[in-house]
Amino acid sequence: MTEAQAHHLDEVEVTPWREYFSFSTDHKVIGIQYLVTSFVFYLIGGLLAELVRTELATPASDFVSRETYNELFTMHATIMIFLWIIPTLTGGFGNFLVPLMIGARDMAFPKLNAIAFWIIPPTSILLLLSFFVGPASAGWTSYPPLSLMTNKAGEAIWILGVILLGTSSIMAGLNFLVTILKMRIPSMTLNDMPLFCWAMLATSALQLIATPVLSGAMVLLGFDLLVGTNFFNPAGGGDPIVYQHMFWFYSHPAVYIMILPAFGLISEILPVHARKPIFGYQAIAYSSIAISFLGLIVWAHHMFTSGTPDWLRMFFMIATMVIAVPTGIKVFSWVATVWGGKLHLCSAMLFGMAFVSMFVVGGLSGVMVASVPFDIHVHDTYFVVAHLHYVLFGGSVFGIYAGLYQWFPKMTGRMLNEFWGKVHFAMTFVGFNICFLPMHVLGLQGMNRRIAEYDPKFAALNVVCTIGSYLLAVSTVPFMVNAVWSWIAGPKANSNPWKGLTLEWTVPSPPPVENFEEDPVLVIGPYDYGTPKALDVVAATLAPPPPALVGEGSE
């Protein structure tokens, strides 16, 4: 047998640390590369956010100048979206989990996978370097003509960065789509797939269909900026609204790229820790696909105040509200999954349940802003900021944390400390709500977003928000200490610490190179908890290998 195979039969082999700094084509290494890299950017983006909040602690712009403030929030959002949430959820969890969950040895195109990852570090460094020339400062939406009038060099770098990161995202999406459709073990039909794979299927379709349109918009914007064409510049006969349509044609689906994988993670985590079958497997699976289709036809709800004609606003208002239906189906299914279960309230489950509750708040404020008459009042106020942070932080980031607690043992072979996990959870949950809940009120009272100064009557609540944001900053400390300490010296994890039924729990922690010695054959559905068979299967994943197999193939 090959050398690699002989390895598996010894101690669980550890991927040498150098591998993580190399052009590795192993999907697990790439997944961890994504996770660690983007976590660094989470910290950088978080630092920018704290600077923004510190400025907003007082009504005057006394901490940083107005121009700097614009640069800070622009780069904050850019980094959080393009360098933290999207790469973590798709590149990080997608890479690590999808091949394991479908019984494959790797992704369909391992080299493309590595290239997609390695586009990110140089691009992100380039983006950071733009701080030396004055970074983009027209918001992450980069609307012309504003974006054509400020910090030209920084804006050019921003455009290039978005094109490159978009390309990386397209490559990743291509890989996931082909992997999920073509690399499943023969005994796994689409309807036997873990729900995370369904979510990734829906996500990858969006990456493939929506991202190129963003690239197109960026090319046109780049020409306007650097060559002097006037596609989007009204002064030269162009039309900035076309930019908005192209941008949101990508960026609304992008919010689903940022949430669908988290939906998938939660669908894995809740049943394991509730010890109950998932409620409505097909409903959750197909609603992901429905969301991905509908997500492509609602973009102009970001443009209700951009002179969009009434009949069009009506269409987009209704379409947007319709999207709440498949989203609601998922929420009801998760609640029903947890309902009456014997809950195992570990850190992963706590974050998972917090995800559902916080996401519901963000979903409800979403339906509110989807209605045109309401949105005309709150557009570009802190109400929208509250909405997007409830879905992106309370949703995506809580989902990421839940996933990290759930699969850390599988990724590293070590258990995280539960006590510090709960401390981390409590601080994050409380800090998050102190920071973002008051923003609903601020928005309704008319406080505008993206402006360094505000009316002194908003001062009290802004102090509350800022305090909450500091608590959030501190909350990452227990997590990081826990993660680093556990990775080095935590108790060893067995192959199935949560007694899960999906395939990644049948291989050792961390899984060996190429994952599976033989193609696995499914003997049980992914969520058949509470059946006698489930007990047997879980026990088998924890049993030592039979001696006959150990002998064979070793040197």
Binding site: R105, L174, K182, S215
Partner: protein, 208 residues
């Protein structure tokens, strides 16, 4: 395969309960062509976005083309269109040659002809650029024209590079055969794609 870190105190149910081992694991399947086609679907969204933007710009501009800007000539682009469409049939012969009989020599010949036709197309386009009365930044009409045709021209150019790469690789005997011809097939699919994009472009820029 189970590792030795597994919790030893669990019931000793046999390992095979979870993973009833099948005979062998499958070879990594060749998914390159499928993947490439998915990529082209994505690529076509880029063009679709630009086409829709083109129509949007056209709708908001009162005169299209604006007064003082020449109408586009039809003769040269018409000839170019015929050349490009014909080249799709030519490249298809290469594909047939390799698939039916593994005839690398014939495939190479058809590729050379396709390259020549593609290069003629590009030369024709450059000639047209040089004789137009407007430049890239003259007005919105001119900008969209140059951007769309230029973007397509870039794709034609990439196609020429792909074909040259295939030619270069095919000098090694046995690199391409009846059963192993991904490079040839993918290049052909790409070329048809570029061709279809051109037909749409020609219709919306010159005819409509």
């Amino acid at each position: 395969m189970q590792g030795s870190t597994a919790d030893q105190n669990q019931a000793d149910i046999t390992y095979a309960a979870t993973i009833e081992t099948s005979e062998h694991h499958s070879e990594h399947p060749d998914l390159r062509l499928f993947g490439f086609i998915v990529f082209l679907v994505s690529e076509s969204m880029l063009f679709l976005g630009l086409f829709v933007a083109y129509f949007a710009f056209r709708v908001v501009t009162p005169d299209w083309p604006p007064e003082g800007t020449d109408e586009l000539e039809l003769l040269l682009p018409g000839i170019n269109t015929i050349i490009l469409i014909s080249s799709s049939f030519v490249i298809h012969r290469a594909d047939t040659a390799i698939k039916k009989s593994g005839d690398v020599k014939a495939a190479r010949l058809w590729f050379v002809i396709t390259i020549a036709m593609g290069a003629t197309f590009l030369a024709g386009q450059l000639y047209e650029y040089n004789h137009l009365g407007f430049g890239l930044t003259t007005n919105l009409f001119a900008s969209t024209f140059y951007l769309l045709t230029g973007f397509h021209g870039l794709h034609v150019f990439v196609g020429l590079l792909l074909m040259s790469a295939v030619l270069w690789r095919s000098r090694v005997p046995g690199h391409y055969s009846e059963t192993n011809h991904f490079g040839i097939e993918a290049t052909e699919v790409y070329w048809h794609f570029v061709d279809v994009i051109w037909i749409i472009l020609f219709l919306i820029l010159y005819i409509l």
